[in-house]
């Protein structure tokens, strides 16, 4: 009874905390980008803009208003939406409205939503791979601790951990697609169009992302398990004749679940905000590549929207992880 009450209270508090964090992020991001030194209108518009065009940008971005007014306007858009007049017609941007892209006049929200399936496919597929690879390797290393196998596994994961994703991805692409021609150079095919092609084309991006991430998960799994193995309760089960396999597989692994949930949530959250490098490298039209594009043309509304969105995903994932964690380990709620 009281446990349930405590749990609900915890969830509520955690949600509230997440909302506060998000608001703070929005303030910081907004202020940082719109208060940055330099003439925003000129930067946004580009060097060759005419004064009239600059004027138009200034109006559209309400650059004449004080910063806090602009922020409140932006915030209002998030909650109630806005109407924009695009020359002749009036376009309604429903809540949560992140504004319009200066470059394409598209609504930032729609722009992002259109790219989300690509990024989502990449992130979720890679996650399955890295969890299988990483946790498997970690368990193996913990089980064979102190032996040659562990040292080899540790060395391999360290190398994976140390390799930047664009190096691994680049080499994979060159070898697999270029030299061996086993796979075509990745080109995104929507799942709804052709699931098989979808998977084949994403295989390489998944693999390169997963190889790097798996190293991290292997290390976490191994170290969390070793930590548990040094604890007193493991000694109890040894003293009661419980076999090593059960001790590692049941008791030590259980101790790694919490940290794994936390790490995975954080990773997934930030990947959803755009796997910038992987997408750029493989030319996948996801949120990350869109961001690079927006950055290159200094499309501030898109940039701010995407940074906020990534923050949103990270905060959301972490809040979810905390709740999951609380379910898995009720002690955190009670204390």
């Amino acid at each position: 009874m009281s446990a349930l009450h405590g749990f609900l209270g915890f969830t509520l508090r955690r949600t509230l905390g997440a909302v506060v964090t998000l608001l703070a992020i929005s303030v910081i991001v907004y202020v940082v980008f719109y208060a940055a030194p330099g003439d925003v209108a000129q930067i946004t518009c580009g060097q060759r803009c005419s004064p009239a065009q600059v004027r138009q940008v200034t109006e559209q971005l309400r650059l004449d208003d004080p910063l806090y007014v602009r922020y409140l306007h932006f915030l209002q858009g998030l909650f109630t939406g806005h109407d924009y007049s695009t020359g002749t017609s009036v376009e309604h941007c429903p809540a949560p409205c992140l504004g319009l892209s200066y470059q394409s006049d598209q609504q930032v929200m729609q722009l992002i939503l259109a790219k989300l399936p690509v990024t989502g496919s990449l992130a979720l597929g890679a996650m399955v791979l890295w969890l299988l690879l990483g946790v498997g390797t970690g368990v193996l290393a913990a089980w064979r601790r102190g032996r040659l196998e562990e040292r080899i596994l540790t060395g391999v994961t360290l190398a994976g951990w140390a390799t930047p994703v664009f190096v691994i991805g680049l080499l994979l692409m060159i070898v697999v697609c270029g030299q061996l021609q086993l796979l075509p150079f990745p080109q995104y095919v929507p799942f709804t169009e052709d699931p098989e092609q979808w998977a084949w084309n994403l295989l390489l991006p998944w693999l390169s992302l997963a190889l790097i991430e798996a190293a991290k998960y292997a290390r976490l799994t191994r170290s969390a398990m070793l930590e548990t193995l040094a604890e007193d309760h493991v000694r109890t089960f040894r003293a009661y004749g419980v076999g090593e396999r059960k001790i590692v597989g049941r008791h030590a692994l259980r101790g790694a679940v919490g940290p794994l949930i936390a790490l995975n949530a954080n990773d997934l959250g930030s990947l959803f905000g755009g796997a910038v490098l992987t997408e750029s490298l493989f030319g996948l039209p996801g949120i990350g590549r869109e961001l690079v594009h927006a950055v290159n043309v200094v499309d501030l509304p898109v940039v701010v929207g995407m940074v906020l969105l990534t923050g949103f995903f990270v905060v959301l994932a972490n809040a979810l992880a905390d709740v999951l964690f609380a379910v898995a380990d009720r002690r955190t709620v009670l204390s």
Partner: protein, 538 residues
Amino acid sequence: MSLVEVTGLSVAFGSVRAVEDLSFRLEKGAALGLVGESGSGKSTVASALLGLHRGTGAVVDGSVRVAGTDVGAASERELRGLRGGKAAMVFQDPLSSLDPYYAVGDQIAEVYRVHHPASRRAARARAVEVLDRVGIPDAARRSRSRPHEFSGGMRQRALIAMALACEPDLLVADEPTTALDVTVQAQILDLLHALREETGMGLLLVTHDVGVAAESVDEVLVMRHGRAVEHGPVGSVLGSPAEAYTRRLLKSVPRVDTPRPPAPPAGAVADDASRDGVVLEATGLRRVFGRGSKAFTAVDDVSLEVRRGEALGVVGESGSGKTTLGRMLVGLLEPSAGGVRLDGAAVTGVRPDVQMVFQDPVSSLNPRRSVGESVADPLRARGERGPAVRARVAELLERVGLDPAHYDRYPHEFSGGQRQRVGIARALAAGPRVLVCDEPVSALDVTTQAQVVELLDELRRELGLALVFIAHDLAVVRRVSDRLAVMRHGRVVEYGPADGIYESPGDPYTARLLAAVPVLDPGLAALRRAERREPAVT
């Protein structure tokens, strides 16, 4: 064939020889106590009985036979059969000894299935059965709880239940009650006694507490530095010890039934006119931690006074609020209500007049600074500089019985007792009139305990210090206190002259506390046990 036969056992960890040439036997159904101070190697022996040193790098020599198994020569498989099946072990800290993630009943069932080809359901039923046997109320429901949902005493019962599950011939209990409050300790010891009578299993009890051994075993083996000092029936070893070390050990053990030794005459204070003068006074002290529905009142409306040159003992079990009270007295914690007066004037925050001696000799000194620098802290804080500081520190170190030349040494070069002396010197450096000692000796061995207590008493007399002596151990408190405050659930339940309270407690709780303290006389212990009967559950 004896249940346990240990012959010429030696265990070494690297260059440290933990146990040397130890031999003893334990017959079926008998109970042996391994008694010794820290570093005596007693727990190492317990682990060796189950072959727990295998694969840890420890070098084990000699032969250990338990229930017909040669532990040294047994295969992994035989060893696993022995562990839990024929010989089961109960550990010191019942919280960390159970897996926090699984239900208690499941953990017991898991162990049961290792030794018996039983279905999951049957094993679960067995778990409930043994939990019920060790006095867990509503065992079927509680078996689904996880360890953190149990109280300390219940966790230890659960561990004992795990040990019982496979009906072992031998129970090895390694400091089974050390982490428990004294009333709970009595219950657990009674439970062990009852189980032994019922199942006829042998008991090997490892303890630092001679009183606990006196209550529970037939024979004792006193250990020191890894070797056996004295071995014999508990009555004769404790009643008329043959060895000098045993005598010294027994002499150091504080007795709850012995009044405080009369103070030597004529201290600086004895004839002070203001002997009755109150130095420190607490009125209506209250401290609440947390807010809202989670608010917890640690100390609730406590009023006390501390007089010049006297020792006020504060006793209570864990959670009684005595540590919180001590921290408020020295100003480390702000009270939620009420206040502290020094010489009649209300004060807040820390001040040199009231200093503290802490419990943990490890964490109470900064490991990265020399002990001299730590002691010099209060002097430097009030602006003293130059060679005078060093001279004063040397003086203080000498006063607490340390070599002043050790100024530049670091804490890890000192033993626990010595570190406690450094802590006392640091407190004295501030020039206090009141010294609040929070469990100052509970982390020390009894022989060291006696010395530190003696030092504190001396300082009180010589310097006219007022002592507030906070402890859970009623016997230690009796040794120092003029007056006594007994705390429970944040309140003072009894407050008055110490001897009066010890002789005839006015509050039923105090009476229960006193009755639970182990006594050194096995005969008396048996009598007391009969009085207590089967315990109520903690």
